[in-house]
């Protein structure tokens, strides 16, 4: 193995060094580089009167994400939730850590697939409700593989 230790000032290293210098600064002479020192920005002028009021700029992440470890984004495909303002192609902000209460919109796993629906707890058991007149309610059958993957906290919709 050829290894040019940076701590050696061997001829090989010097050769490699100068080869690199010419590679990285192809058109600059030493003189030009020294002149660059003088081009440094020099602070001058009046201090901004707003300096004392500088605060942290607002962040959407902060607003939309309550638990950053358990929050994931998902993409919506289909129209069945448009009654609740969730459209095809929208971006869901889903939190896995919050409990799925009656009436909340969830990402559920039904027979191994992700689906977005409103979750209702009824006397007959859990019901998944779409928000579209053409789609009927779906009662979760006991033999069905069903679980709540996460609770939809926000929907991001492009206007």
């Amino acid at each position: 193995m050829t290894s040019l230790s940076p701590n050696l000032s061997s001829p090989a290293r010097r050769a490699a060094h100068s080869a690199l210098l010419s590679l990285t600064h192809p058109n600059k002479s030493m003189f030009e580089r020294q002149r660059a020192l003088l081009r440094k920005a020099v602070p001058a002028g009046f201090p901004s009167p707003a300096d004392d009021y500088v605060e942290r700029r607002l962040s959407l992440d902060e607003h939309l994400i309550q638990h950053k470890e358990s929050t994931f984004f998902m993409r919506v495909a289909g129209h069945s939730m448009r009654g609740l303002g969730i459209f095809d192609g929208d971006l869901l902000v889903v939190d896995r850590s919050v409990p799925a209460t009656h009436g909340c919109v969830v990402v559920a796993v039904v027979d191994g697939e992700f689906t977005v629906k409103q979750l209702l707890y009824t006397a007959q058991g859990k019901v998944l409700r779409a928000a579209h007149p053409d789609y009927p309610e779906m009662a979760v059958k006991p033999e069905q593989e069903f679980s709540v993957w996460g609770v939809v906290q926000w929907n991001v919709h492009r206007v």
Binding site: M1, L4, H17, L20, L23, E69, G78, R96
Partner: protein, 428 residues
């Protein structure tokens, strides 16, 4: 004095578990994840373990078995695993003031002095990680790191423990009973060769090793084994490394999907790796003082002529500029490249890494160029972050990457690429 209590939290078949989070249809099915280039099995679902498939076996030898049992094989998706690992570690950090992230799927936590029932506390960790991420974990608790590892092994292999095993809650007699049933090779730090040597000395079980006098071992083994025996006896010799030191080296290396003898292929690969390494460097706000390139043929193809060579290029000044790093890497590659060999692997290593804030100013610093470079790299990273990695790259990296890794069946990068989010159906 309060009893020392160290927990080791380990994710169960982590890569497979990560895949199942975003492909719930894989639940209950036999699934394996393969290493780079789809070479070996690196993670197995419990269903696959039950079929008797071993870890690290070459995949092509397993194809018949896979077909018979309908085993689903996925290529490794490290972007996904790394993100979920970070989430696991940061959730675990809430459970102890002292954490050592030991690997992508394991973490030590110091529970000493936390005045709760440790087994219940560990169940809360399991529940939290399952609920927040959908990943199953097991926890071992003991007075030393070596014992915590062993406790974790016990928790994993024995369903009645419910995923948590606290050695501190067991009596000496109960512990010894357990240790008598565990192979000495399972002990953390006892490798294959040491196991063979120990077996020759009639040391078969963990209990045998625990009861072997230190001075008896000192003659035949290194001090490391002596320390392991002390740890097995509940004397903590290894402390938790709380602070992960900033990386002193950044390595990007990979085997090619197919062997290549062409310099242009190697150049593309080296530029791609140097680009990736430079991104990592900027992520940790550091600069590199040198870059090493190495290439080698496939040492397992004994009939092919073999060649391997490496070269370290010192940089004129510490930098994180992709262009300068690539330039230097290519310069090195062209010096070590020899025609007529079938190359299997190239790697790029950044060395002499320093924090960007610690860069010494010199008289010849070209401040304007440095500022421009910094701004350009920031823009590059921002675009690649928001629009997908590789959106903007050096032309040298090439558009045709036929040398690249074989990753035939890789899942989407659900948490790190906008274009690859999981899709949620809103139709009947």
């Amino acid at each position: 004095m309060t009893q020392r209590a160290i927990a080791l939290v380990d994710c169960n078949n982590f890569y497979v578990s990560c895949e199942r989070v975003f492909q719930p249809g894989l639940e209950g099915k036999p699934v394996v994840v393969l290493s780079n280039n789809d070479g070996c099995v690196v993670s197995r679902s419990p269903e696959v373990k039950d079929l008797g498939m071993k870890m690290a076996v070459p995949w092509y030898q397993m194809k018949d078995m896979a077909q018979r049992h309908g085993i689903i094989a996925l290529s490794s998706n490290y972007s996904l695993y790394a993100d979920l690992s970070n989430r696991v570690m940061s959730l675990l950090a809430q459970f102890s003031p002292s954490q050592e992230v030991y690997s992508i799927d394991e973490s030590f936590l110091d529970l000493t002095g936390i005045a709760v029932d440790h087994a219940q506390y560990a169940q809360r960790m399991r529940e939290t990680i399952r609920r927040c991420l959908g990943i199953p974990v097991c926890v071992g608790i003991a007075p030393s790191k070596t014992l915590a590892k062993l406790a974790n092994h016990v928790a994993k292999k024995n369903a009645p423990f419910g995923g948590v095993c606290d050695f501190n809650a067991l009596t000496e007699k109960e512990l010894d009973g357990l240790f008598a049933t565990i192979d000495v090779g399972e002990v953390w730090g006892v490798g294959r060769r040491t196991t063979d040597k120990l077996n020759e000395m009639k040391i078969q079980s963990v209990l045998d090793l625990k009861r072997t006098p230190a001075k008896y071992l000192r003659v035949k083994f290194s001090v490391v084994l002596e320390r392991i025996v002390a740890e097995l006896n509940g004397v903590a010799c290894l402390e938790l490394d709380d602070v992960a030191p900033a990386k002193q080296q950044i390595i990007c290396s990979r085997s090619f999907g197919t062997l290549t003898s062409r310099l242009p292929d190697l150049e593309q690969a080296v530029i791609a790796y140097a680009t990736r390494a430079a991104e990592k460097l900027r992520q940790q706000h550091s600069l590199a003082g040198g870059i090493q390139v190495s290439i080698r043929t496939n040492p397992h193809k004994e009939r092919d002529s073999q060649y391997q060579q490496a070269m370290l290029m010192p940089l004129p000044e510490p930098t994180a500029d992709t262009r300068l790093l690539c330039h230097a890497a290519l310069h090195g590659l062209r010096q070590i490249y020899r025609a007529g060999y079938a190359y299997q692997k190239a790697s790029v290593t950044l060395t002499e890494i320093i924090p960007a804030s610690a860069k010494p100013q010199t008289l010849f610093d070209d401040v304007e160029t440095q500022q421009k470079s910094h701004a350009l790299m920031q823009t590059l990273d921002r675009i690649n972050r928001s629009m997908g990695s590789g959106t903007i790259k050096l032309l040298g990296e090439g558009m045709d990457t036929s040398w690249a890794m074989r990753r035939g069946n890789m899942s989407k990068r659900y948490t790190t690429e906008w274009a690859e989010l999981a899709v949620c159906h809103a139709d009947p």
